[in-house]
Amino acid sequence: MTSPHTVEHTVLTVLSQILATTADDLRANPVLANYEWDSYSSLEALAQLESDLGIRFDLRAFNAASTVDDVIALAA
């Protein structure tokens, strides 16, 4: 089972790559709307996280996520 620390690290790594920012910035400012979080980037994040973590998201819940912490909670 993936540990919570690994999940957080993976989510921050994937989101920082897709949103062209850093993990530190995402921690300091976790609201996704502050970045280029659109339908394309969110789907890319979904595919990448599912691949890296071996999980399947409910797309409705994933779309409702508005912060990095929401995404981490969904992936955990």
Binding site: Q17, S39, Y40, E44, A47, Q48
Partner: protein, 610 residues
């Protein structure tokens, strides 16, 4: 460092990833890695040096999604720098019919079933559905005609899977069969477009998806983002598009260079003889026979064949000509490089004699050493592994599409014969320099050890099985070997070799009659697996030093030709030994230093003989 880190580092430094990195990327099938690599590679300038430019318009009946990134990664891996121009969303027909992409190298179309199916249809009137699909195909063909009138760009299409969500909504078995027939007819009509215009190409996505057992669709992404293809399916589409683009821009390979032993047949012909080879009949011989059949098919389509084998040329010639199961006879090869020289040098010489760049070569070999040596010396050669189960060899050879051409010409069909004539004039007898840098990078270690009860059986086995590097042909059995190893007047030693590719284990042995003055080597054998690295010279250096330490003044070597051991004929003279009046006997002062190659380190093993 993983492939993504390597790609990121290159892009960060403003460099195109090197050939080795691109070769690794070309093997990636994980769509998540491809899309990340593609996103990173978008940072490269379009005029990046060293890659062949290709412009690709992408028009889709749906969202293009991550296809652009995957396509970029796949094309760059294959040596192209793509300028990808995505079409406008929901404007497929207008963009295609007006050829708004202008003159690009190709148009890659992403089609989905919604384009050919009505928004709603009745499952109790399958005939009406068939008429609708037929009409849509007629309309599509007229849009294509309009595009072809306005632009000379080639349009790449694909067949379409019929989603289970559509098929299984029809509950009557008879009607479901009719629906599938309609769909197969649609796909047949799409494939038939290649005869409608030479500027249309079609690949069979349906069979590619089935072959790789890839789930074609993620229903969530389809419904949410109008993405009818899963990432896995998009990776397949990108790969097929890469094959087409490769042929389109002239990056297809023309030459297939093949190893023989354990590649085109099972076994080492110099060891087991022609009659002992695995070829034809049941498994695994049938795998090698099938590989030869497939190679023959490639040759018929214009692929030039080169033989690259470390073997005695005469034995190979005879086996190719006379073995009843051989499909590839000597004349099938435009050049035959059968000798004991390094393969990279042989392939470079073959390229020069054929007048072709090494970048047009694909090289297939079972040995990681040979593949590594060629990759290090000639990075532009595409390398295929024939290691492991030979059942996979045919797929390994054909699945990448290295030799794809857009259309076969009469010249293509005659090419192997043209090149064979050309190569006949070339002189392959020239000797080639050692790729010393490569050998140094290997970190080869020679581990000599006096025979122990644990190694006697392996040493005797080497004596019985080694034919090529076998100096005198004397095959000491296990009992004699054990007896000599315990005798103070004899020496039996084994030689192990390891390098960065791994440990080869015990690959050689020597039997010595140790007189007070003269150490006489009665036989020395070495597996052909390690030839070409000068391991034998390091063995001689170790042996002479050991004789000197023991107080002997002379080391005496013998060579008795057997008809198969030509590779070892000059071993003693290469090690500095001088001929004597007696035929086949050579001598060296034990105080001499044999110049051991500096790329081999020697560490003597002392094992407990309990």
């Amino acid at each position: 460092m993983n492939i993504l880190d390597t790609v990121r580092e290159a892009v960060r430094d403003g460099r195109v990833p090197d050939a080795a990195t691109r070769a690794v990327l070309g093997q990636v099938t994980d769509p998540a890695v491809l899309r990340q690599a593609g996103r990173t590679l978008a940072g490269l300038a379009l005029d990046a040096p060293g890659l062949r430019p290709v412009s690709v318009a992408v028009l889709a009946t749906c969202t293009i999604g991550p296809y652009e990134q995957m396509l970029r990664a796949t094309l760059i891996a294959a040596g192209m720098m793509p300028d990808i121009r995505p079409g406008r969303y929901k404007m497929f027909e207008l963009s295609l019919g007006s050829a708004e992409y202008g003159e690009t190298d190709m148009v890659s179309c992403l089609l989905d079933e919604s384009y050919f199916l009505p928004p709603q249809w009745s499952p109790v009137d399958i005939e009406a559905l068939g008429e609708y699909v037929t009409q849509r195909m007629v309309q599509f063909r007229s849009i294509l005609d309009s595009a072809l009138e306005r632009s000379s760009t080639t349009i790449l299409l694909h067949t379409l899977p019929l989603p289970g969500t559509v098929r299984d909504a029809v509950i009557s078995w008879r009607d479901r069969a009719r629906l599938s027939r309609i769909w197969h007819q649609l796909n047949a009509d799409l494939l038939a477009l290649v005869d409608h215009s030479p500027k249309i190409a079609v690949f069979d996505l349906v069979s590619a998806l089935g072959e790789r057992a890839v789930v074609a669709r993620d229903d969530r992404l389809h419904r949410y983002g109008d993405l009818p293809f899963s990432d896995g399916a998009l990776a397949i589409i990108a790969d097929q598009t890469r094959r087409f683009a490769q042929a389109r821009v002239g990056l297809s390979r023309k030459v297939l260079a093949l190893d023989l032993d354990n590649t085109l047949w099972g076994g080492v012909v110099g060891e087991v003889g022609a009659q002992g080879l695995q070829l034809g009949g049941l498994y695994p011989g049938n795998c090698y026979r099938q590989l030869q059949n497939t190679v023959t098919m490639l040759r018929e389509q214009g692929v030039v064949l080169v033989l690259a084998s470390k073997n005695d040329a005469e034995l190979v010639e005879r086996t190719l000509a006379e073995h009843p199961e051989v499909v590839l006879r000597p004349e099938a090869f435009s050049a035959r490089m059968v000798n004991w020289q390094p393969k990279a040098a042989n392939l470079a010489a073959a390229a020069a004699s054929l007048g072709l760049a090494v970048g047009s070569f694909v090289f297939m070999d079972d040995s990681p050493f040979e593949r590594g040596q060629v990759a290090a010396e000639l990075p532009d050669i595409a390398i295929l592994s024939a290691e492991g189960d030979p059942a996979h060899h045919v797929r390994t050879l054909v699945q990448h599409g290295w030799f794809d051409v857009l259309d076969l010409t009469e010249t293509d069909k005659k090419r192997p014969e043209l090149y064979r004539t050309k190569a006949r004039r070339a002189d392959f007898s020239a000797s080639f320099g050692s790729p010393v840098d490569y050998l140094r990078a290997l970190g080869i270690e020679l581990l000599p050890a006096e025979a122990t009860q644990f190694t006697v059986a392996r040493i005797a086995q080497l004596a019985s099985r080694t034919n090529q590097f076998n100096l005198t042909g004397v095959r000491y059995d296990e009992a004699t070997t054990a007896q000599w190893s315990a005798s103070p007047d004899h020496l039996v030693a084994s030689f192990s070799v390891r390098d960065r590719f791994g440990d080869e284990g015990v690959v050689g042995a020597v039997w010595v009659d140790c007189g007070p003055e003269v150490w006489a080597v009665t036989n020395l054998v070495l597996s052909c697996r390690v030839l070409g690295r000068d391991v034998e010279i390091a063995v001689a250096a170790w042996l002479v030093a050991k004789a000197h330490t023991a107080g002997a003044s002379t080391v005496e070597g013998r060579f008795i030709p057997s008809g198969r051991n030509g590779v070892a004929a000059d071993f003693w003279t290469r090690a500095g030994f001088a001929r004597t009046d007696i035929d086949g006997i050579l001598r060296l002062d034990a105080a001499s230093t044999v110049p051991s190659p500096d790329w081999i380190s020697v560490s003597e093993r002392s094992e407990v003989n309990s």
